[in-house]
């Protein structure tokens, strides 16, 4: 187990390096001048521009810039953005908000997604099954910002059930609606995935054996079938964490949440390379760890899979 984790951690290093390099190259290609607009209504004095470019290594070729960045990254230093604010501090603050949002989205996914999938799976072909299948297709086919704006309009503005925007404190109640919007498509996928696996496993021999040896249906379905059906679902949730954090850009914009997405978007807009690369690096690391945790969970769900 310990050896497995160490091996996985080592395998992460090339992925992190590759992903940061890709992002770095794209940021390097960002057109425009990062010093534009920094000196008010007039162009910056050449001396300031020269100093600025020197400080942020902007005169070096791509590979040298990247090398210098990684050198600092290894020491845990994400650098300061072009406004002199340490990226690490800013991210720490914002990742708490976005992390809360993503975590609540994962909760929605597991609660509603798995529940709907199980209900549909054990009543295959009945009303509830068709209801789940049709409504999930419906949700999948609508872009997330349409779902977000419409729910915000009806549940927030018209009916006043939920706050329309989120304050910097980002309380649980305020994040209920945004996290649901963020999770909506994934909830639909998970419901369908759970349903398919439940249907398949309910026909399996071991379920028949379990019932034949006298277990109640509740136990045969709830313990034996469900546990075996959850492996693909858990895989999906693990991969989805990355998509949730990235997809938060849209949700955060709709509900005015002060999270990573807004920061990233603004940084891209102001050509703030250090901030963009730092944010994405942190995101990739979170994603890789989520996948590691998922792989470790396999062993819990299926004893045949061991990591020794």
């Amino acid at each position: 187990m310990g050896k497995y984790i160490v091996r996985r951690l080592l395998q992460m290093i090339p992925v992190i390096l590759g992903a940061t390099f890709l992002i770095f190259a794209m940021v390097f290609a960002l057109p425009g001048d990062p010093t534009a607009g920094k000196c008010g209504e007039r162009p910056c004095p050449p001396a300031y521009v020269a100093k600025f470019r020197q400080e942020h290594n902007l005169n070096d070729p791509l590979l040298v810039q990247y090398g210098k960045y990684v050198g600092k990254l290894v020491q845990g230093d994400l650098g300061t953005n072009y406004y002199g604010i340490p990226v690490k501090d800013e991210l720490a603050k914002r990742y708490v908000t976005t992390g809360k949002l993503a975590l609540m989205a994962v909760l929605w996914e597991t609660l509603i997604g798995i529940l709907a999938g199980v209900l549909a799976g054990i009543r295959k072909g009945k009303f509830i099954d068709n209801l789940v299948l049709v409504s999930t297709l419906f949700v999948i086919s609508i872009p997330i910002f349409v779902i977000g704006a419409t729910l915000q309009m009806f549940l927030g503005v018209r009916m006043g059930l939920f706050p329309v925007t989120v304050s910097p404190a980002a309380t649980f109640y305020e994040l209920l609606l945004p996290s649901f919007v963020l999770a909506s498509a994934s909830v639909a996928y998970i419901a369908r995935l759970t349903r398919t696996n439940m249907v398949e496993n309910l026909r399996a021999d071991y379920v028949r054996t379990a019932i034949a040896k006298g277990l109640t249906r509740r136990r045969a379905v709830g313990i034996h079938t469900l546990r075996n059906s959850l492996i693909p679902v858990v895989t999906y949730i693990g991969v989805d964490v990355g998509a949730l954090l990235g997809g938060a850009i849209v949700t955060e914009r709709i509900f005015n949440i002060q999270g990573v997405g807004g920061f990233l978007f603004r940084s891209i807009g102001s050509r703030d390379g250090v901030a963009v690369v730092g944010t994405v690096t942190a995101l990739v690391i979170v994603y890789l760890f989520a996948n590691l945790i998922v792989d470790l969970l396999y062993g819990v769900l299926d004893p045949r899979i061991s990591h020794d």
Binding site: V15, P31, F145, I190
Partner: protein
């Protein structure tokens, strides 16, 4: 989202192994199954309508989509303007019809590019193995670690559009961004399905008879390993159309004066409180298109999967 989608679909698809039902091939067996499925026909008809709409919008409307009648702005649906008019006084019906082109183009070409790159790399990795496999798998990991939406936004920001960028250039950029970030999931799927086909007897027999690797890939591996990829890419096509609208919402994809569903939808959001019909029609068309491709993918998967019969 797509990486995750692919896994979900891939897991739902499972292994599609050919079963010998008489002398029919897997494909003709699947076709017989498909012909009987009403959902398949509904989605095919819907897709045909939208493709024709994208190719020759003039067939559906005589109104100029760029004609703004400002005094009639926000008009509700009526006999003159079937879907009403938007904030600028554009005819929503005409704009919705003309908007199909961008979505269909992006969906089709993004899917094609992911399938070409993904299938090629997947076959190389799965068939030849060795260091090429290791290299391709690691590159796949790197690309998979970057969320589709985020990478797409960064890409679009790195190569921004000006007001007079030609339409096809902007569409091409969106296609490029989606293709660049979408191929890894297809490559991974293709690799695993090639690995499943490779040890089969008929492949070994062909090799023993002296067939060249290229011939084995072309006539034995590809036909038997393509099914899961076809299913996933059909569904991805729908997902890409939905993703294409998002950069427009953020103001970096297609932007006015280009006409697309994404542009119409994001323009309509400001009017949501007072005149929701402006939002309704473009999003309805977009959702119907996405739905048609997802239903088609579902139907094809069921036809190819012996377990669901």
């Amino acid at each position: 989202m797509t990486e995750a989608t692919t896994i979900a679909v891939g897991a739902e698809t499972g292994t599609t192994q050919a079963t010998e039902g008489g002398a029919r091939s897997l494909a003709s067996d699947a076709w017989r199954q498909l012909k009987k499925n009403p959902i398949f026909w509904v989605s095919v008809v819907l897709i045909l309508i939208f493709v024709v709409m994208a190719a020759v919008p003039q067939l559906f409307t005589q109104t100029d989509p760029a004609e703004a009648i400002l005094k009639n702005a926000r008009e509700r649906p009526n006999a003159n303007a079937w879907f009403g008019r938007d904030i600028q006084g554009y005819d929503i019906y005409a704009r919705t019809v003309y908007g199909a082109r961008a979505s269909i183009l992006v969906g089709v070409f993004a899917t094609l590019s992911t399938v070409v790159i993904g299938a090629l790399l997947g076959v190389i990795a799965g068939f030849y193995g060795g260091w090429g496999d290791t290299l391709i798998s690691r590159i796949t990991d790197v690309f998979l670690a970057i969320p589709l939406l985020l990478g797409g936004i960064l890409f679009m920001a790195s190569f921004p559009n000006t007001v007079d960028s030609p339409y096809m250039v902007v569409v091409g950029k969106v296609v490029l961004a989606l293709g660049l970030l979408g191929w890894p999931s297809i490559a991974r799927l293709m690799r695993s399905s090639v690995l499943q086909v490779k040890p089969n007897d008929y492949v070994q027999a062909a090799r023993a008879l002296g067939a060249s690797p290229l011939r084995i890939i072309r006539s034995h591996i590809l036909p038997n390993a393509m099914a899961p990829v076809i299913v996933v890419s059909t569904i991805n096509l729908g997902v890409y159309i939905s993703v294409e609208a998002t950069p427009s919402f953020l103001g970096i994809g297609l932007t006015p004066p280009a006409i697309s569903w994404g542009v119409s939808i994001s323009d309509a959001l400001v009017a949501l409180r007072t005149t929701p019909h402006i939002l309704l029609f473009p999003s309805l068309f977009l959702s119907l298109t996405v739905l048609a491709f997802i239903m088609l993918g579902d139907a094809v998967r069921d036809a190819f999967d012996p377990k669901t019969r």
